[in-house]
């Protein structure tokens, strides 16, 4: 586009343009503030004593009670539980991505008679309310002797993540022209090579969306973990966080410290990958 055109547009629309820009930036700033505020709130609160917190939650802490952090680490057994949450979530995500990628590929590219039925079969899984299956899940796992093992939680988490993943992947793959794979086949690649080498990299945005969605659902779950796990050695961090909730009172400030400790690594991980994975997405939307 020639710069002449640009200048003309800007000249005639400059006033309106400036106002909407101001509005837009105000809204953006507002959201940045309200989105970061919880973290700040967490940090401030984590340095107070519990009664100090309950009397005025907005005020700055009187003194820095670092012991809230050491206590929180101990009470929520953060060391152990965090590690559990990490490996359970990671493995479940990998399982979901793998299984759903192959299944979605079939849904998107192959025609077979029961495709529609099978697709609906999977999609219905997105609607299953969590508490509906607590008791049945427990019964099932109990009969099959799957309770309280190191691999117990992979199974329901993967099963629950599959519908979303298949839904997202299938939509995405459908939009990619099939000719790309066909030309690879002509070039002599077998099916697996085509998938892994060509289709998979093209699906990066979908992989990002799926990973995020599945991660959020699994990391934050505690109903299923509560019911299927007994030993402290396998519990997840969400369960550990409830240790601060007594019947009569809650140790809010230690809870805040624990929340901060457990949220920050996740955020850091996201920011590291945000750079790599979404750089392509934002800039790539406007190449050149």
């Amino acid at each position: 586009m020639s710069s002449n055109n640009k200048i003309i547009f800007i000249n005639t629309k400059v006033i309106f343009h400036k106002f909407t820009r101001l509005l837009a930036y105000s809204v953006v700033l507002f959201f940045i503030v309200i989105d970061i505020y919880p973290l700040i709130f967490m940090v401030f609160s984590s340095f107070k004593t519990n009664s100090e917190f309950l009397s005025n939650m907005i005020a700055l802490p009187n003194a820095l009670h670092f012991e809230n952090y050491t206590n929180a680490w101990r009470v929520a057994k953060i060391g152990r539980f965090f590690v559990n949450s990490v490996y359970i979530t990671s493995v479940s995500i990998i399982l979901v991505l793998t299984l759903s990628f192959f299944a979605s590929y079939i849904f998107a590219r192959q025609k077979f008679r029961i495709r529609g039925l099978l697709y609906t079969y999977f999609i219905m899984g997105m609607l299953i309310p969590m508490h509906a299956i607590l008791v049945p899940l427990f019964l099932l796992f109990s009969k099959l002797n799957l309770i309280n093992k190191w691999y117990t939680l992979f199974l329901p988490y993967t099963a629950i993540g599959l519908p979303y993943a298949i839904y997202l992947f299938e939509s995405f793959i459908k939009a990619i022209p099939a000719e790309i794979e066909e030309s690879a086949v002509i070039d002599g690649a077998n099916n697996l090579q085509t998938l892994a080498g060509i289709l998979l990299p093209m699906c990066k945005p979908a992989i990002v969306s799926v990973t995020i969605l599945v991660f959020i659902n699994i990391w934050n779950d505690f109903a299923i973990a509560l019911v299927l796990i007994r030993d402290n050695s396998f519990k997840t961090i969400q369960l550990g966080l409830t240790n601060f909730i007594g019947q009569m009172a809650t140790q809010y400030t230690q809870l805040m410290a624990a929340l901060f400790i457990t949220t920050v690594p996740v955020l850091i991980t996201y920011f590291i990958f945000q750079d790599k994975l979404t750089k392509g997405m934002i800039a790539g939307a406007l190449k050149g």
Partner: protein
């Protein structure tokens, strides 16, 4: 195509069929459970009989592995006491391994019910008294009378009325571990003196007190009803007693008195009146009860009506001076009230019991663990470290080690003329839930007191009809 279809269908159906076969533990259960329960009971009795024959195994000989489940997480005031009791137990019975699991109370309830549904309860556990009926009907628990009677020294330590609260069909089905007095009014005597007020004993005196405090920008009652059990437990239960008398309340809970008889609606009217004239903080329906101690502690509120179970947080939030001037009193009498104004609603909402399926050494170990969680050692720690009332008689504790508030609360039961039931401890869970939600709706002015009464009565009738 057929192969594909059939393989996929098989992949789905085979597990289903497998499951249908294995899931017999669900609602399609067979007749065997009853005989199981009977056998357990018989062996249990013979076991206990053998034990009392004086041949009980000594601590070191007892070998078993048992599971323990409760809600005393670290954030709970009773954590230290429970850990101390567990430690004492482990020292006495080194051959017994205890697998402990603690979850915050809401999670504990979810998990216990899930386990109940799957017939996989742990060995020793805490349960709410109003679960008793359902637990008994599914043969999950046995009466505790056997081991209670086998150990007279242990049994006589209990205040009898509390043991009786845990009765169902005339048998004791769980062992209490702390006493709840749910409508103790903690009041700041210094504030009362400042405005030349005396603690109100009648409703009209209360209205006057409220007026004076409001004029001086002090919240009369700190109330946090976002958990809707608070107003029923700390106002409604006692007010029902004030207006209709303890016999009527008992009849309402266990007999055929109706919620629509008019008393409940009248009590709601009184509470609404109190709220309307500014007797409560304005956000009482969305405030969490954990903020009640803070309001009181920072002297923004002159009184707070809540149980002895919140004494710990109240103490934590009050300066030493405030603790010294805090007195405890009862809710006032109501106009035209038929009840004795000197009663307090109280009881025991939770108790310990053991799994009915236990036999032999495991059962004995479980019973001993239960006793460790409810004996005099536990009670002493309960007072000193958790600031709660024990259910045992004559517990000696160090006066200097506890706040003056605690001393006053411990002495309070001696001054009252009777205890009236706490609704959330004795009502069937469904009725209690409806009571809570209806009361909260009335206080939020969504429905009228009469509508609330009809709703609660409807649930009561449905539950009784089952």
């Amino acid at each position: 195509m057929k192969r594909l279809l059939s393989t996929l269908i098989a992949a789905i159906l085979v597990p289903v069929v497998l499951l249908a076969l294995t899931a017999c533990g669900g609602p399609t259960g067979a007749q065997t459970p009853d005989t199981n329960a009977k056998t357990v009971q018989e062996t249990g009795t013979t076991q206990a009989a053998q034990a009392t024959d004086g041949q009980a195994k000594t601590g070191k000989d007892l070998k078993a592995e048992i599971s323990l489940m409760h809600f005393f997480v670290e954030g709970d005031g009773r954590f230290k006491a429970e850990q101390a009791s567990l430690k004492a137990f482990n020292e006495k019975y080194p051959g017994v391994t205890v697998k402990e699991e603690a979850n915050a109370v809401a999670q504990h309830e979810t998990k216990m019910k899930t386990l109940l549904a799957s017939n996989e309860l742990p060995d020793v556990f805490t349960m709410r008294t109003n679960w008793t009926e359902d637990f008994v009907k599914t043969n999950a628990i046995n009466p505790c009378d056997d081991f209670l009677n086998a150990d007279p020294e242990y049994k006589s330590a209990f205040i009898e009325s509390f043991l009786n609260i845990h009765k169902y069909n005339d048998k004791i089905y769980s062992i209490p571990f702390n006493a709840d007095y749910n409508a103790i009014v903690y009041y700041n005597k210094a504030l009362f003196d400042k405005y030349n007020l005396t603690y109100p004993k009648t409703w009209d005196e209360l209205l006057n007190v409220v007026k004076v405090f409001n004029t001086n920008n002090i919240i009369p009652f700190a109330v946090g009803n976002s958990n809707p059990v608070i107003i029923p437990t700390s106002f409604i239960s006692t007010f029902m007693d004030r207006i209709a008398g303890t016999e009527y309340v008992k009849n309402l809970v266990w007999g055929d008195a109706k919620w629509t008889d008019g008393y409940y609606a009248k009590v709601l009217d009184y509470c609404l009146q109190l709220a309307d004239i500014g007797g409560f903080n304005k956000d009482f329906n969305s405030l969490n009860f954990s903020e009640m101690p803070t309001l009181y502690g920072y002297e923004k509120a002159a009184m707070t009506s809540i149980g002895n179970w919140l004494a710990g947080p109240i103490i934590d939030n009050s300066s030493k001076e405030l603790q010294a001037v805090t007195e405890v009193g009862l809710l006032p009498s109501l106009p035209d009230g038929k009840g004795d104004p000197n009663t307090l609603d109280g009881g025991s909402g939770w108790g310990w019991n053991i799994n009915a399926k236990l036999t032999g050494d495991a059962k004995e170990a479980a019973i001993n663990l239960l006793k460790a969680m409810t004996d005099r050692f536990w009670a002493k720690n309960l007072v000193e470290t958790a600031s709660m009332n024990p259910v045992l008689k004559n517990i000696q504790f160090d006066d200097k080690a506890v706040s003056p508030i605690i001393s006053k609360i411990i002495k309070l039961p001696d001054t009252i003329s009777g205890v009236t039931p706490v609704f959330d401890q004795v009502l069937q869970p469904e009725v209690e839930q409806e009571l809570e939600k209806a009361t909260q709706a009335v206080m939020a002015k969504s429905i009228t007191p009469d509508e609330a009464a009809k709703k609660v009565q409807a649930v009561k009738e449905r539950v009784l009809a089952k």
